[in-house]
């Protein structure tokens, strides 16, 4: 029996109908290169709020986009990660917290997804071929988050498989990202979803791991969600229809979205739904368009932004923060749009995560969750940071859809870097967030401000020894290493690269990378390829040394001295055929006998010696140089450069004045340098701020000891 086949042309036509707002002038190539999605979903799902269950039906049409003949399909069943403690997710969680249950649900709060029926459109039952598989090895033999079904006849290139699935899911009491609390539900990763078929390699369909996120193919979605009447629903995509069944006491809403690779929704009867428009002509000035276009080497039309419908679902207790949420979202739409490419969808839905559903700070295509608290300081950029970050994932994961299992830095790292840039431009530095019992401490104390790149660097330099940034997500040393490397170290490296390559190369790199791989699945090699292409030089060394290795980067000044050059050195010399000995005394007498130099002529020369060291293992490469700035006491300065290959080097400068200080990397290009304190050295040993720091340190110790003594 042959697998039922749908003509790709029909799918293409359907996709184009769903895509009226997706292409922008000058932006077409990326989307066109990716083509229409070879995947289409129609899902009917009903929420049993009392029983915490989902009952679903799903139609999947998958078109084989490769030259391979595909005999099977691998499906993600993510919620089985919360089915029992034998899942890869909970095993890994437990391994990181050996003295507790990890993230395990309490008794009676497990979640799972059961495929109750799976067949082809012609009725062929695939259930007999259904098996759980272990794509990531036998270590987690009990994992059931990936299943395989066999087609009765393999799917030929360009042909389609049409599957009809019925599933029943128990919603977990939140473990991670999805779950319920009382009548609040956040539903993500909830439906059986095929992996990504890669030509010559087969299905890329990893298990649900604790330190990893997701990967899927672009698809067109139509989703019908039935909830109890009165429940407010927020969802990926655009609401197309809403019907209420009075007798059943339910409302069914239909949402549609083309060219996305996931679909999430939430519902809560208490929630407020607020809409605002991002009106590009109000948000972006003509000057900003012109400057951006000039920087990127594009026309103004190519960088022009579309309007976007912004939808906010927010808990009533956070009502006072509605404007705060929209302001942050407007900034994100504007700057991501200007820098990387216009937002291609009509809507974006921002969800204030329902209380105790553990769903905050998570991204899904056209929908993301933010996160705030009832007592929120305006000086702390929260929820702004999370809003910008999660919206930003619409670009880095949503559009440039890298494999989050295998190259998480491409979304988390690139997006953490981008978040920091948007926050810096839109808000400046934010106060560090410290709370006590729900109270922001900056209401009472002078909490310092910091830019994201500063806080990211703290983690970045402390994470280097554990794993390369490019490690596969679940293979990191632990969750801390995963987070610090994938988010902060990657972001710090990108800021370093930005400073190293400068304008206009860097903004053009980011723009090109995004637009070229929009609606595609880029890899680390793709990113490096774009960097090399646009920078016009081979920067592979940067990624080899810093991204794909665990080498600390630290260049520093080991020594600085300035000494008067004597007119004569001690010892025995032949002059005019006779041997003469110069001693300290004769040199001194000779110098005293010298006539005083006329005004403007230096009396003596000084030899300034600077010793530079490469303390770290990582080395700069290509045409990169360590810049050395020597300042002298007369206000002049000299700049030298070091290729940084050897372990150390010595520089000498002869000038009629003593040196005052030496500084390497005076422009602060090498943010990844793990010791900035040793990057400079003065000839004196007194620094006012250091003295202040020391007095505060002493004072802190005094107060601490007084406190200890008060318990006696």
């Amino acid at each position: 029996m042959r697998t039922p086949v749908l003509r790709p042309g029909l799918l293409l036509g359907a996709a184009l109908l769903l895509l009226p707002a997706m292409t922008m002038p000058g932006q077409a190539p990326a989307a066109a290169a990716a083509g229409a999605p070879g995947l289409r979903y129609e899902i009917w799902v009903e929420l049993d709020a009392a029983g915490k269950m989902l009952l679903g039906k799903e139609e999947i049409v998958w078109t084989n986009p490769t030259k391979d003949t595909v005999p099977d399909m691998l499906l993600h069943l993510y919620w089985n990660a919360f089915k029992n403690e034998d899942s890869a997710f909970l095993r890994e969680a437990r391994a990181e917290t050996p003295f507790s249950r990890g993230d395990s649900p309490e008794d009676g709060e497990w979640g799972w997804v059961d495929i109750t029926d799976i067949r082809l459109a012609d009725g062929t039952d695939l259930k007999p071929t259904f098996r759980y598989v272990l794509p990531d090895g036998p270590e987690t033999a009990g994992d059931q988050t990936v299943a395989r079904v066999l087609f009765p006849v393999p799917v030929e290139p360009g042909e389609s498989a049409h599957l009809r699935i019925e599933f029943k899911s128990k919603i977990p009491r939140t473990v991670a990202r999805s779950g319920y609390y009382k009548n609040s539900f956040f539903i993500g990763q909830w439906y059986p979803k095929p992996g990504v078929y890669e030509e010559g390699k087969g299905w890329n369909c990893h298990a649900y791991h604790q330190n990893s996120e997701f990967f899927a193919d672009f698809a067109d979605f139509v989703v019908h969600i039935t909830v109890p009447r009165g429940f407010v629903v927020g969802s990926s995509g655009k609401a197309a229809d809403s019907r209420t069944d009075e007798s059943a006491g339910t409302t069914t809403m239909t949402f549609r979205q083309a060219m996305v690779h996931d679909f999430a929704w939430m519902t809560d009867p208490r929630y407020l739904r607020v809409e605002q428009d991002f009106i590009a002509s109000r948000e972006v000035t003509a000057k900003e368009y012109e400057e951006t276009a000039s920087l990127l080497g594009l026309s103004v039309d190519e960088v022009r932004l579309p309007d976007v419908k912004m939808i906010l679902l927010i808990a009533p207790e956070h009502k006072g923060q509605i404007e705060r949420h929209f302001r942050a979202l407007r900034a994100a739409i504007k700057y991501y749009g200007l820098w990387y490419g216009p937002y291609p969808y009509e809507t974006v839905t921002m969800v204030d995560p329902p209380f105790r559903t553990g769903s905050g700070g998570m991204e899904y295509p056209t929908l993301f969750t933010a996160g705030t608290q009832v007592l929120a300081s305006r000086a702390v950029l929260s929820p702004e940071g999370v809003i910008v970050h999660e919206f930003g994932h619409g670009y880095w994961y949503g559009l440039a859809a890298n494999n989050e299992f295998e190259a998480a830095w491409l979304d988390e790292g690139v997006n953490t870097y981008s978040t920091g840039r948007v926050l810096a431009v839109a808000y400046g530095a934010g106060r560090l967030e410290f709370n006590f019992k729900g109270w922001p401490l900056d209401w009472f104390l002078r909490i310092p401000k910091a830019f994201d790149f500063e806080s990211d660097r703290v983690a970045a330099i402390n994470a280097v020894e554990f794993d390369p940034v490019t490690t596969w997500s679940w293979k990191f040393y632990n969750g801390g290493s995963y987070g610090a490397n994938v988010y902060m170290r990657a972001a710090t490296l990108l800021t370093t690269l930005e400073r190293l390559l400068g304008e206009p190369a860097w903004p053009r790199i980011m723009r090109t990378y995004h637009m070229r791989y929009r609606f595609r699945h880029p890899t680390t090699a793709d990113f490096i390829g774009v960097v090399n292409e646009i920078a016009g030089k081979d920067m592979t060394w940067f990624f080899d040394e810093l991204l794909d290795a665990t080498l600390p980067f630290d260049y520093g000044v080991a020594g600085l001295s300035s000494a008067k050059v004597p007119r004569q050195l001690r010892g025995v010399y032949e002059t005019d055929g006779r041997r003469e000995e110069w001693t300290d005394k004769t040199i001194e007498e000779s110098e005293a006998a010298q006539p005083q130099a006329p005004a403007g002529v230096p009396e003596a020369l000084y030899r300034t010696t600077v010793v530079l060291r490469r303390y770290g293992e990582a080395r700069i490469g290509g045409d990169a140089r360590i810049k050395v700035l020597i300042r002298f006491k007369d206000g002049t300065s000299e700049t030298r450069a070091w290729d940084g290959q050897a372990r150390w080097t010595r520089l000498e400068v002869l000038k009629p004045v003593e040196a005052e200080s030496v500084q390497i990397d005076p422009e602060g290009v090498w943010l990844i340098d793990e010791n900035l304190a040793n990057n400079s050295r003065g000839t004196d040993g007194f620094r006012l701020n250091t003295s202040k720091l020391m007095t505060q340190l002493l004072f802190t110790v005094q107060c601490l000891l007084h406190f200890v003594g008060s318990w006696s």
Partner: protein
């Protein structure tokens, strides 16, 4: 004796015995310098010659990250050293307490060094025993009461559908803990006073005497305690407001900040003596 009168008399006593304050300040300063010295040396070594030291901030993330990385191997030793120093200071302070309570209770007596150190030695072991008993008392009282409060609040917090109930309950829980702590510490203060005033040698008996004393005049005694706490909070607010206005670092500002910080430390130590003096006045005025 009334609440205010006890505090005013206490202030008078502490001002008459400024030498006690000086001894405590010198002890704190010397101990602090010893504890802080390794940290100060690290700061000077790493930033003294570096231009970074010219613009480093009190909480400088860029440098803190580096310091964490550089000293991660020594961190455990640092923490152990700090704990050891803290413990040593605690014992030393128990020793000093003998002198403090002894001299402050001897209202008209001298506050010379000989008398002070004499009292330190005389009461040391009694105060050590009292300290151990008070630790047990503190743990039991707070443990039992707070467990009860937690048990009462937990179902309310678990049933919450918004952030507000857990937030309010958590703050209420904290406030109750603070008030309870103030009561327990007040009881221990009076036990310490009883050791000296009544020459009580047994810690448990001193504690019982304090409880008996407070049973009849609890709220007045508590008011004294809380008023002095309020004065501490007010003084601290003034300190931080002024410190924040000292401006950008210049030599004058750094020196002014140092002096202001030291004045604050003196103030905190003085408040510590005021607790003893005011409560001693109150205790003495109500013989039982």
């Amino acid at each position: 004796m009334g609440v205010i009168k006890a505090i005013v008399s206490g202030i008078g006593t502490t001002l008459r015995k400024l030498r006690v304050l000086i001894i405590l300040y010198v002890a704190n300063a010397c101990f602090s310098v010893i504890v802080a010295l390794p940290f100060l040396a690290i700061v000077q070594k790493e930033l003294g010659h570096s231009l970074y030291g010219s613009f480093i901030q009190p909480v400088d993330l860029m440098w803190l990250g580096e310091a964490m990385l550089k000293h991660q191997d020594a961190l455990a030793a640092f923490v152990a050293g700090l704990v050891a120093c803290g413990f040593a200071y605690l014992v030393f302070h128990i020793f000093l307490n003998g002198g403090v309570v002894g001299r402050l209770l001897d209202r008209e007596g001298p506050a010379d060094l000989a008398s002070f150190w004499g009292d330190c030695g005389r009461y040391f072991w009694r105060f050590v025993r009292l300290f151990l008993v008070s630790l047990l008392f503190l743990a039991l009282t707070l443990g039992i009461f707070m467990k009860l409060v937690s048990g009462l609040f937990a179902p309310l917090s678990e049933a919450a559908v918004t952030e507000w109930p857990p937030l309010i309950l958590s703050n209420l829980h904290f406030l109750i803990a603070l008030l309870l702590l103030s009561i327990v510490r007040m009881i221990i203060d009076y036990a310490r006073i009883a050791v000296v005033a009544d020459e009580e040698r047994k810690a448990l008996k001193a504690l019982r005497q304090a409880l008996t004393f407070l049973r009849k005049r609890f709220f007045r005694a508590w008011a004294i305690y809380l008023l002095i706490v309020a004065a501490t909070v007010a003084g601290s607010i003034v300190f931080y407001v002024v410190l924040g206005r000292l401006g950008a670092p210049a030599v004058v500002q750094v020196v002014a900040a140092l002096v202001w910080m030291q004045l604050y430390v003196v103030f905190r130590i003085w408040i510590g003596t005021l607790f003893v003096a005011a409560q001693a006045e109150f205790y003495r005025s109500h013989p039982y």
